[in-house]
Amino acid sequence: MPDFSAQTAATDAVEFKGRMLTLSVLKLNSADLNQTEPALAAKVQRAADFFRNMPVLLDVAVDGIDLPPLVEMLRRYGLVPVAVFQPSAAVATQAAQAGLGVINDPKAARKAEATVAESSAESASAQPITAAAPPAKAARNATKVVSDPVRSGQQVYARGGDLVVLGAVSPGAEVLADGNIHVYGALRGRALAGVQGDESARIFCRELSAELVSVAGCYKISEDINAKLAGRAAQIFLEGERLEIAPL
């Protein structure tokens, strides 16, 4: 490693920052690559664009997994494995060798810390403990804001949060979100909110000319959308099992 100690370091050249992000977890229920590969192939094939270069956290739920061939297989399918979630000691060693990180559940870690703190407090007898609980931040997923028009053939997916499109969504384009979708231009393509099943998700748009709208899997195609609402500002939401479209 080069010796930088003699140089005057510009300390602001790098910064470490903490950040709350959602990360997709790939749970492995089988250690047998012959089983996992076809299953993964089928999933990736359904939405190749979603999975391309998607960072994933591996959750190994089975024993006896061999990490290097698994990682190699995932990369072949365009996934980017970044770390292993709470691995066993053996898997953790393999992860370190494969250049993957190891992530442990912060809650579990906190619990462990707390027990340690308590027991040490007991031994130190009657020392007041200032419970250094980290400030409870509401887990909030970042909203994805798209300022360019979404063109025919493009697909935009806000994973784990809301999607805001400032321009138009063209015919043949698709916008998806795990949360709500807001479109400030004309909505002429497809909009699917709550794609992971959130039934409280809604779609809001300033000009409804969509080919298809869907909330948590319930959808309506343009033929079924009331002609009176066409071209108007509207919101789309689930009322029980029914997809409702109401003017704004």
Binding site: P149, R151, S152, G153, A168, S170, P171, A173
Partner: protein, 268 residues
């Protein structure tokens, strides 16, 4: 450094090659050293429209494969000083275009030219992707009908994601040229209007070229229509070039002409 401009559309037959020829000719007429390259390997047409089909010895693919150098392959226009054509190969296919090869040729041309116009083939496959990859700006040619507009929209999406500039996080500057415009049919509601198309595509309008038999005549005789200053499309292409060079030109030929009594009587 030359500015590289791709002329593209997605859909075929909308006027890419006509636009490339007139755009390049117009730039050269205004004193800018310009080369226009046919990327439609296997279906070469640009040489016909430019009227140099009898002078093609070496082509773009020969230069890429280093069978010929640029000097041998560049065809100098006989009418205009600053204008050169690089023809496509008719006997090869799009696989003859390699990204590195195209990049090398464009880089070499950049040293000598002010503008490089890349005439893209139709579609969104390899030939079209090669034509747009190195572009700084794009001229998207669209006809006023829904399928052409949708294809152009798709191409705009690809320009924003699959070009070298997009990979670097920069933008390719996009311009719209609306061709084969018939104001009388727009007035009748049979054709999309300029406003409709601009609203859907949401990019800067560089020119509107009216439908005219002069375009076909120009193609057949190998004279880019911009050189015919007595024709409406020729004038409209001239305006387009001026606008591209930053001059302020109002759009012409957008309104249906009112037929006079005598013309109506004679059925003209």
């Amino acid at each position: 450094m030359a500015k590289i401009i791709v002329v593209t559309s997605g859909k075929g037959g909308v006027g890419k090659t006509t636009t490339s020829a007139s755009f390049a000719t117009g730039l050269a007429l205004r004193g800018h050293k310009t080369v226009v390259i046919d990327f439609d390997v296997g279906l070469r047409n640009l040489d016909l429209i430019m009227g140099c089909e009898r002078r093609v010895v070496f082509d773009f693919v020969n230069v890429i494969t280093k069978e010929a150098n640029l000097k041998q392959a560049l065809i100098k226009d006989k009418r205009i000083d600053n204008l050169y054509v690089l023809a496509a190969s008719q006997t090869r296919d799009k696989d003859a275009l390699s990204q590195a090869g195209v990049g090398r040729v464009l880089e070499e041309l950049s040293e000598d030219f002010e503008y490089i116009i890349c005439d893209s083939p139709a579609g969104i496959e390899k030939g079209a992707l090669m034509a747009m990859y190195y572009a700084d700006e794009a001229v998207v040619v669209t006809n006023p009908e829904v399928s052409s507009v949708r294809d152009s929209d798709r191409v705009l999406g690809i320009l924003a994601s699959k070009t070298q500039r997009a990979e670097k996080g920069e933008r390719v500057k996009e311009h719209l040229v609306l061709t084969r415009y018939v104001p009388s049919r727009v007035a009748e509601g049979e054709m999309l209007s300029v406003e409709d198309v601009c609203e859907i595509l949401a990019i800067d309008l560089l020119g509107v070229i009216p439908e005219s038999e002069d375009v076909l005549n120009a193609s057949n005789s190998g004279v880019p229509v911009v050189l015919n200053e007595e024709s409406k499309p020729g004038l409209a292409y001239g305006d387009m070039v001026d606008r591209f060079l930053g001059e302020d030109r109002p759009h012409r030929f957008l309104e249906a002409e009112k037929k006079g009594f005598l013309n109506r009587l004679l059925g003209k």
